[in-house]
């Protein structure tokens, strides 16, 4: 591999900007600049060093910060496109045709285009996932490429740096000390810098004071965190890692929990509470009359014995009793039950009165429990009502047979056979809501509807996400890395005492120049050093003068 050999004799890998030992600028660019570029401390970024095979080319592509930033921006734009119209999972239709119709009807031809381009489900599209994946590759490759050389050059720092390095720093000073014994100057500097919590190293007539080096690792730590986070998101796709099911349970019902084998959940009661406030101005604007206060399911979680098989429901063991509310899911062994939806007032039982049509005389009441209809309801030994048919969601007749559209009691209908003392052979009547059919002509009796009993239904979602701990670890590492990189900074001060006792000084920080200047102000005063200048100050002024284009 080609190497660059510095004047000082140190061998540097190709692509190095500043000699790893003495700091002399090695490239023409570095030599001609007034302030050297200190990122990665002038170490060669690995990808810049070689460019041969296909693998290297791909590697270099992803290593480029320019590519990384472009990927960030592309991801940003792609994500924003998904917010133009609501995504599919936020609209309440299920089939593809309905979805297409929804977008077209609601948002016109633009909506139709949006749907057809797949933008209505952009976040699960293959190309969006590939974009995120490419960003992840970029993070990994760029971190490996920069982190390792930076680590090496920080670890192998020399105290003594060449004049050409020192003079090209942003903060520099050179000159005799203002008063006092110049032989003691370096000691004074060391004393002061130690007080300012710098680590001080000396090498002959040179001194290096350094503080907060670990902050240089912040970006790499946060990138590791991000990668762990993204990997954890991917884990979700591994079978068994992620369960996301929804279920409806009526009050008093027990249901097997989908995705959670051997467990059953019983809905004891569903509670809906409303705020009793007066209508506020915001409610007025939004056309909302009352605001919900609480959605709650009083639930019981049961478990089968371990050797039991599905369907066997006589050996259940109560595991947990809990009031599931929004923000307060029931949690058990990694599974969580969330309050998601509800339906109020489904018919549970109906009460009828056997009535003489003419006289209006009542012969007794019949209570039909829709969860357990009986073959006959005996009123007394001469009077009874037989139930010949029950159709929970009556949808019309087909070949004279009543039909049900669903198993839910949305529109219950019954065929009753009424046996009374004066009609011992019985009269048949078909009874539905607002409809009565008497197949044998005019009956003397009717089943007069009296009242209903209702119950509520709760919609729960069942979740298990085993990737959460990994996400949490990734997120925590990311936050730690970001905090380290943001709230601490790496400050260095190089001092060299020349043979005539005068001082040459340079300082660098990766961020917070204001802070390092305060430190230097302090040491300059303490050790009577020459005044320093900030070489970038006149640059900024120049920029102002030359302003004409963006």
């Amino acid at each position: 591999m080609e190497k660059i050999i510095c004047v000082c004799g140190h061998e540097n890998p190709a692509g190095t900007k500043l000699c790893g030992k003495c700091g002399r600028p090695l490239t023409e660019e570095a030599k001609s600049s007034k302030i050297v570029d200190m990122k990665y401390d002038g170490a060669a970024i690995r990808s810049k060093t070689r460019n041969k095979s296909m693998v290297d080319k791909i590697w270099n592509f992803f290593s480029s910060v320019k590519v990384g930033i472009s990927l960030i921006i592309i991801n940003l734009i792609a994500a924003s496109i998904g917010t133009i119209f609501p995504q599919e999972f936020y609209i309440s239709v299920s089939t593809d045709a309905e979805k297409e119709a929804y977008y077209e009807n609601t948002y016109g031809s633009l909506g139709k285009l949006y749907y057809e381009l797949g933008l209505s489900d952009v976040y699960s599209s293959w190309w969006f996932q590939i974009l995120v994946g490419m960003l992840a590759i970029s993070i990994i490759v760029a971190s490996i490429d920069r982190g390792i050389p930076l680590h090496r050059s920080l670890k192998n720092q020399r105290v003594k740096r060449h004049e050409s390095f020192l003079k090209r720093q942003r903060i520099i000073a050179e000159g005799p000390i203002i008063n006092g014994d110049s032989a003691n100057t370096l000691n004074l500097i060391e004393e002061k810098m130690k007080k300012l919590k710098y680590k001080v190293r000396r090498d002959g007539n040179a001194l290096l004071a350094e503080r907060g080096r670990f902050s240089r690792y912040g970006p790499y730590i946060n990138h590791v965190g991000l990668i762990i986070f993204l990997a954890a998101v991917m884990l979700r796709l591994v079978p068994g890692f992620y369960v996301d099911e929804s279920m409806w349970v009526r009050e008093g019902e027990m249901r097997a929990v989908p995705g959670m084998e051997g467990y059953f959940i019983e809905n004891e009661k569903f509670i809906l509470e409303m705020h009793d406030n007066e209508k506020t101005e915001n409610q007025e604007l939004q056309g909302v009359n009352v605001v919900a206060k609480n959605y709650q399911t009083n639930a019981k979680l049961y478990k089968q014995t371990d050797d039991a098989v599905p369907g066997k429901a006589d050996d259940l063991e109560l595991v947990k009793e809990y009031s599931i509310r929004v923000n307060h899911p029931l949690q058990h062994e990694g599974y969580s039950f969330y309050q998601m939806d509800f339906r109020l007032n489904e018919i549970k039982a109906m009460n009828f009165v056997l009535t003489n049509k003419e006289t209006g005389e009542s012969f007794g009441e019949v209570h039909v429990d829709l969860t357990n209809p009986q073959d006959e309801y005996v009123i007394n030994d001469q009077t009874k009502v037989q139930l010949l048919g029950y159709y929970p969601d009556f949808s019309g007749f087909e070949n004279g047979e009543p039909q049900t559209a669903t198993p839910n009691p949305n529109n219950p209908a019954f065929i009753f056979k009424m046996t009374t003392p004066d009609k011992p052979e019985g009269e048949v009547s078909f009874v539905a809501i607002q409809q009565t059919v008497e197949p044998n002509g005019d009956n003397a009796y009717k089943m007069a509807f009296k009242s209903v009993e209702t119950r509520n239904m709760t919609g729960l979602t069942v979740h298990k996400d085993s990737s959460i701990p990994f996400l949490a670890i990734g997120g925590a590492i990311f936050m730690i890395g970001v905090a380290i990189g943001s709230y601490w900074n790496h400050r260095r001060l190089w001092v060299e005492q020349l043979d005539d006792g005068s001082i040459r000084l340079a300082a660098h920080t990766n961020k917070n120049w204001f802070g390092i200047k305060k430190d230097i102000d302090a040491v300059v005063e303490f050790a009577h050093l020459p005044k320093y200048i900030d070489q970038s100050d006149d640059d900024a002024e120049k920029e102002k003068e030359g302003d004409s284009t963006l």
């Binding site: 590697w59 590759i137 369907g311």
Partner: protein
């Protein structure tokens, strides 16, 4: 091995792993909806349900080992379920002697509805009600009717969703018939 080559291999390996991760992600999330819990060839999950008519008769799948089981999920509101029932009843009469058992599983309706419905169709085969939907969940049944063919070894032979004709029913029963000695 020289350093250059070694580095190239490391880089290549990292890139390949990352690429594989992306491909896996895109592939699985694209096919995610289609992944069934239960697949042909799997061991059919055991279950136990109480007979519709005799409360102390329990139908346990494992008790039928050595027989073919024709497991049919249905509901009274489901029109195609209703249509295929008489054919099932007739074919069951044929294949019963040849070691094929039919078990129809109603999804959480009331005894009354199920009994009246079967009576009105005049069909005869064992029927059970899956009150808690546990068996339905275990077999990942979604549309009705769904029929699961279970061979004498207790493995899923075929999963049929939608209505079956009488000829199909006959051939399905034939396919799970145990070998005659």
């Amino acid at each position: 091995m020289d350093k250059k080559k070694k580095r190239s291999i490391t880089r290549g390996a990292i890139l390949v792993v990352l690429l594989a991760a992306i491909v896996y992600t895109v592939y699985t999330s694209a096919t995610n909806d289609k992944v069934k819990v239960l697949q042909v060839g799997d061991k059919a999950p055991d279950f136990e349900l109480v007979d519709l008519y005799e409360s102390d008769l329990k139908h346990r799948l494992s008790d039928y080992e050595g027989k073919g089981v024709f497991l049919n999920f249905w509901g009274t509101w489901c029109e195609p379920c209703k249509k295929e029932m008489p054919a099932m009843s007739r074919q069951y009469a044929n294949y019963k002697e040849q070691g094929v058992e039919v078990l129809t599983v109603n999804i959480a309706q009331t005894d009354f509805e199920v009994k009246k419905f079967l009576e009105s169709l005049d069909v005869h085969f064992p029927a059970v009600i899956d009150q808690t939907k546990a068996v339905m969940t275990a077999y990942n049944v979604n549309p009705l009717p769904t029929t699961i063919l279970i061979n004498p070894e207790g493995r899923v032979e075929k999963i049929i969703t939608g209505e079956m004709s009488e000829r199909q029913i006959a051939s399905y029963m034939e396919s799970i018939k145990p070998e005659q000695e």
